[in-house]
Amino acid sequence: MCASRCLPWSKRRGVPEVDLLPRLGAFARLLHDAGLEAGPRRLTDATRALGFIDLKQHADFRNALRAVFVSRKEDIPTFEAAFDIFWAPPDPRATAGVIPGRNRSLPLSPERAKAWVNALGLNSSQMNREHDPKEFPASSSGYSAEELLRHKDFEEMTWAETEQVRRLLEQAPWRVAERKTRRLRPSRSGRIDLRRSARHAIRSSGELMNLFRRKPRVRRRPLVLICDVSGSMERYSRLLMIFAHAIGRREDLEAFVFSTRLTRITRLLRQRDLDRALDSVSKTVHDFSGGTRIGEAIGDFNRRWARRVLGHGAVVIIVSDGWDRGDPAQLTAELIHLRRSAHRLIWLNPLLGSEGYEPLTRGMAAALPLCDDFLAAHNVDALEDLGRLLASLDSRTSR
């Protein structure tokens, strides 16, 4: 390499423009507010990274910051939106670097605007969206055409009630059945552990005096909860969310809710504080108490999530009353697929608790033959029955 060609390069390698650093710090804070990890370490990396690229190349600048600040696919739209807002060229309509507020249009595409709203936990109406007038489709049939984008108010449940239910659920014997892993641990029986046996043999001049053994370690199975929060399930939604939060704290739980569409709430439930967890769920899930399309929701789960969350012999629990406005044939097809990738498929139906109930709804009739277990879920007692079932799960029941 010739020295003259390297010289301008190494000059660029120092700290970027002086006034860029505080701007970068502000950008990191913006990302942090939107839920991305943007601590000092990342900021340092970003500063260093910018020393290696040509800042005039807008795309490279964006790519470099993305490589540093993003670490999962879901965060990419948020990052792009934040980048657009923060580093936008001066525009009379939008002041760059200001968090979106009321009455200010943003230089964003509708998808990015949506990602941004979700990331900041803002209400959609808090953003002025000139690009997207059809976000609330006109209500025509009264049913799902209007995807009721209303926020369900969790605050209705009193604090005392919440605490009571939570305490009951936390005391419940939640122990999910175990499965063998491929990791081995020392044991009296099982396969011969050559490593330990040989190590001891060396002490006795190569004579194999003792054979040590090991066998597979066991682990609890992951749980996947898919909850119906549509209108007909309204009375149970709150209880179910508290239930999900209670088990999520102790078990390897993946949680999803659906009415017209499927939303993953696993991360939201990880918050230690129940009220805050429920609050973020209600902010993120926009179709609480909307209509139900179970088949579509399960299909969505099969395509987008099954491969990611159904490894390691997971137990899948669907909670729904089976009031489905979708196509029963679709529900059947999707359940067949789901059953094949799950270790066990359990359907909880709150209506099963009421007297004289028979699973005659179209959805339930379609689903029943495909589930391993069909249980009630209308009160804490019923959920404890579920707990006992989970603890005793071993192999699949014959179907």
């Binding site: 490279d60 040989a198 099969n302």
Partner: protein
Amino acid sequence: MSPVSAPTTIEDVERRLRERRYIGDRALATSIFLALQLKKPLFIEGEAGVGKTEAAKVMADVLGARLIRLQCYEGIDLAHAVYEWNYPRQLLHIRLMGEGQDRRVAEREIFSSEFLLRRPLLDAIDNDDATPPVLLIDEIDRSDEEFEAFLLELLSEFQVSIPEIGTIKARQVPFVVITSNRTREVHDALKRRCLYHWIDYPDLDKEVEIVRARAPEAADGLAREVAALVQGLRGMDLYKVPGVAETLDWARSLAALGATQIDATLVNATMGAALKYQEDLERVREQVPALVEKARRA
């Protein structure tokens, strides 16, 4: 291997990838370039078959470095990833030494590097290569949390402790590429140590370019039609959406059959190259004529 200079600009990375028939985008080239400059691991995620592993392989070639690959799987442990003693040989050796040997001398002898089975991670750390090797930790999402925790430690210290020998520290840090298919979420702590890049499915033009570069046996018209066909499939509601690897397989299969363009019969006969679920095959079969029609117009 003659020493190859490290890339000095993003354009340089782009050009070298292209020379090796890897068609990536500018963002990937930027991530690779920065990972090299900042000496940080590169974490590549994407759906199956978009060329994550291939990127690491090509990188090794670009750098003129040795590729050390660790394929992860459930239950992978230190004995498979770092090192293991060669016990049968040790036992044999100790038997041959016979009685009366000082045990401490004997132990020192059998716990020497001669009896050490070096696995990929130790190999990558304890290297004397002219150019630092490329360490590919493939499909990390298949391993478990214990192994992830170990990797986290390894990637921050770049050293390995072997009780009988001592600590081995990397004299030169390898270029680490970690890939994941996202079958599960990898812990944030590990990702935080890395630069991140998400590889998406390519658009039509890029995919045609990839087919031409990697499956040159397919005629130009065929390459475009197959790429368009797969693009059409990706828009459908399928359990397993075909990746670029499937596009290449499909193009090669068709070329092997002597096809220079697609038709419904050929597509029906070879669809298995791209679709791996019975339900998906059935769903697509109904629409083959329409898909073919659309692909040929693309």
